[in-house]
């Protein structure tokens, strides 16, 4: 059977990245909806047994390309595998993480196949499409939904004529869920040399440093986030103080990160981290769509803002109209007073 749904697996060491498992979960649902198979592609080194991490997510076929030269990741060998494999298999959909690797690899592959690629999708659905000009109707296309234009609008992108329909999705946007620990799937081991000519190994990785993450924003049960309204890097100190008291992590809006008030890895939103804490305290954040896309599933949202009409207030459970620098110290004071 052809025209299946493919997910590129990102592998660090011998571990499949969470973002890939999240995409397998989404890919499984799409494949069931489309009545096709879910296939995954593992490219790397020492991949024996990798299927144990992958098949439980409902993968029907796992393609394995195992060669010492394929790890660590470099662009052209991985691209070469996907381009040749996709020419043979003709997938209808290909999903990748919107990670550094996915954003390096996806466009190269889509360019070679002359297919479309939509970056940083926040939602993927199946639906029909009628071309406004030609009147031509298309059944069961992939709706690639993403905030656009700096996050001020939501666009639905379709790819009517070209295959595969390719999309990247940030880590944390989709939820990973094991389908069946005993899901039967086939493992196909390919001969790497048939897919990667020697001429593709042109870039040498001569040094590599992976640091342990300094914080766990994605998994934090409470997030205290600041926006451009915090005014400065020093303004964020107050948020760190509140976060320390509440055992929370500090997040930031894109505007605050762009202004240099907070580090890039603390950015919450479509082009940052997606969080679903039990409590999200938004301080001086106006609430662009691209920010809301990364936090609206928080269980309880408090917005502290001088503007009673800030867009973020629409998704908030509690709206505190006031100055952050006055409200937050009071929160700290009363938390200390009552938590004992």
């Amino acid at each position: 059977m052809m025209n299946n749904i493919f997910v590129y697996l990102e592998i660090e060491g011998r571990t499949v990245a969470d973002v890939s498992l999240e995409l397998l979960t989404k890919g499984r649902k799409l494949a069931t909806r489309q009545g096709c198979r879910l296939e995954a592609v593992a490219i790397g080194s020492q991949l024996d047994g990798i299927e144990a991490q992958v098949l439980p997510y409902g993968v029907d076929v796992l393609h394995v390309f195992d060669d010492p030269k394929l790890a660590p990741y470099t662009t052209q060998p991985h691209a070469s595998v996907l381009i040749r494999l996709f020419k043979e298999e003709k997938p209808q959909i290909c999903l990748m993480g919107a990670t550094v690797i996915g954003r390096d690899l996806g466009p190269r592959v889509s360019s070679a196949l002359k297919s479309g690629l939509t970056a940083d999708c926040t939602s993927l659905e199946i639906g029909d499409h009628a071309d406004g000009k030609t009147g031509k109707e298309y059944k069961d296309l992939l709706y690639q939904i993403r905030p656009a234009f700096g996050g001020n609008i939501i666009a639905t992108i379709v790819n009517p004529e070209h295959r595969p329909q390719m999309a990247t999705v940030r880590e944390g946007v989709m939820k990973k869920e094991i389908l069946d620990p005993k899901h039967p799937g086939t493992v196909v081991k390919h001969k790497v040399a048939d897919y990667v000519p020697d001429t593709e190994y042109v870039i040498k990785v001569i040094d590599r440093h992976i640091q342990k993450a300094k914080h766990n924003l994605k998994g934090a049960p409470i997030v205290v986030a600041g926006g451009y309204g915090m005014g400065s890097r020093e303004g964020f100190d107050l948020l760190f103080e509140l976060a320390h008291e509440l055992h929370a992590e500090v997040g930031a809006s894109r505007a605050a990160v762009d202004a240099g008030f907070a580090d890039h890895d603390r950015q919450v939103g479509q082009t940052g981290v997606t969080v679903r804490p039990k409590l999200y305290i938004a301080c001086g954040i106006s609430g662009q769509i691209q920010h809301l896309a990364g936090m609206q599933e928080s269980k309880i949202i408090i917005s502290i803002n001088t503007d009673p009409d800030a867009p973020i207030n629409a998704v908030a459970d509690y709206v505190v109209v006031g100055k952050v620098e006055e409200v937050v110290p009071k929160m700290i004071k009363y938390y200390k007073a009552h938590s004992k």
């Binding site: 662009t75 052209q76 691209a79 990670t99 550094v100 690797i101 954003r103 996806g106 466009p107 190269r108 889509s110 360019s111 479309g116 690629l117 939509t118 970056a119 940083d120 071309d131 234009f149 700096g150 996050g151 001020n152 609008i153 939501i154 666009a155 639905t156 992108i157 379709v158 790819n159 070209h162 042109v202 870039i203 040498k204 990785v205 040094d207 590599r208 440093h209 992976i210 640091q211 993450a213 762009d258 890039h264 409590l279 809301l292 309880i300 408090i302 502290i304 207030n313 629409a314 459970d317 509690y318 505190v320 109209v321 006031g322 009071k330 929160m331 009363y334 938390y335 009552h338 938590s339």
Partner: protein, 297 residues
């Protein structure tokens, strides 16, 4: 060996400062309400190019952009900082291009520029945030790519290799790549140098053909018309699709596999919320409530 460097840049609406008047009633964007700027990461890329020019005297830096006539503005911004020549790729046939059609058009223009060692641009533009054009240009030209670059550490002229520090998820790596290649530069890289006063004097009257035409509307005379004959460098190069031999089926809307189905100015379902003031009373009540339902503490 001197180097030939092509910098890719885009003029973008400043989406970082979108005010309330930037959206029209019908949910579309009021572009006129947004200032047009030099895409920030393209400035980081320009700085890396100018550093190479400093290190290898005799090198030339060409700046290539695609856009409407007014995008000549960023060519001047480049010339003010040390760019040697600017090219504006401009044609109605390019309108509505997605990243694939954009990359195709840029690749044809780069072939027309011809001789190059390094093609360098920003990682992504702030109006789309896709980061796709750099890798797609590399693929179209059959060149290696190094994305998310932080710094060019070394360039060995003899063996024609370049060493680049780049970001990866959760860290950094150093890679060695052969020339020619495509590099995309991260926003955390060194900021671009300011305009040079002498170069501003030299190029401030530089204009593209469409800008000149706009100035001469309704029979008005072009200011300082003589200058454009005596100082040819004041005439910014504009190329149409035909000038770069572009296949129109691969340009603009025609050449774009992705189509925008719908655009929505989304309004979130307003939740029922509790409105509080910042008074001691209200804040204390809030904290007590959160503690009692075990949201905090």
């Amino acid at each position: 060996m001197s180097l030939k460097i092509v910098v890719l840049a885009k003029q973008v609406p400043d989406t970082r400062n979108v005010g309330k008047d930037a959206m029209k009633e019908d949910g579309t964007i009021n572009r006129a309400a947004l200032p047009a700027i030099f895409n920030p990461e393209d400035l980081n890329a320009l700085e890396q190019a100018l550093k190479l020019k400093d290190a290898f005297p005799g090198s030339t830096v060409s700046l290539l952009t695609m856009g409407p006539g007014r995008a000549a503005e960023i060519l001047r911004e480049g010339l003010y900082r040390g760019v040697d020549q600017g090219f504006l790729l401009t044609d109605r046939a390019f309108a509505g291009a997605d990243t694939l059609a954009t990359s195709y058009a840029l690749a044809t223009a780069i072939r027309k520029i011809g001789d190059f060692d390094i093609i360098i641009g920003g990682r992504q533009a702030i109006d789309g945030d896709t980061a796709q054009v750099g890798p797609q240009v590399a693929e179209k030209l059959g060149l290696p790519q190094v994305t998310y670059a932080e710094e060019i550490l070394n360039l060995d002229k003899k063996i024609r290799t370049i060493t680049i520090l780049r970001h990866i998820d959760g860290g950094v790596e150093t890679v060695e790549a052969p020339l020619p290649l495509v590099v995309t530069v991260n926003g955390s890289a060194a900021p671009c140098r300011p305009r040079n006063a002498k170069l501003v004097m030299k190029y401030k009257r530089a204009l593209g053909a469409q800008e000149k035409a706009a100035l001469m509307q309704n029979g008005a005379e072009l200011p300082y018309a003589d200058l454009y004959e005596t100082r040819p460098y004041l005439n910014l190069t504009e190329w149409s699709a035909a000038d770069v031999d572009a296949d129109l089926d691969q340009c603009g809307l025609n050449g774009s596999p992705t189509k925008v189905k719908t655009v929505m100015n989304i309004s979130f379902q307003a939740k029922e919320n509790k409105s509080l003031t910042g008074s001691d009373n209200d804040v204390e009540e809030l904290v007590v409530e959160l503690l009692s339902n075990h949201t905090i503490g």
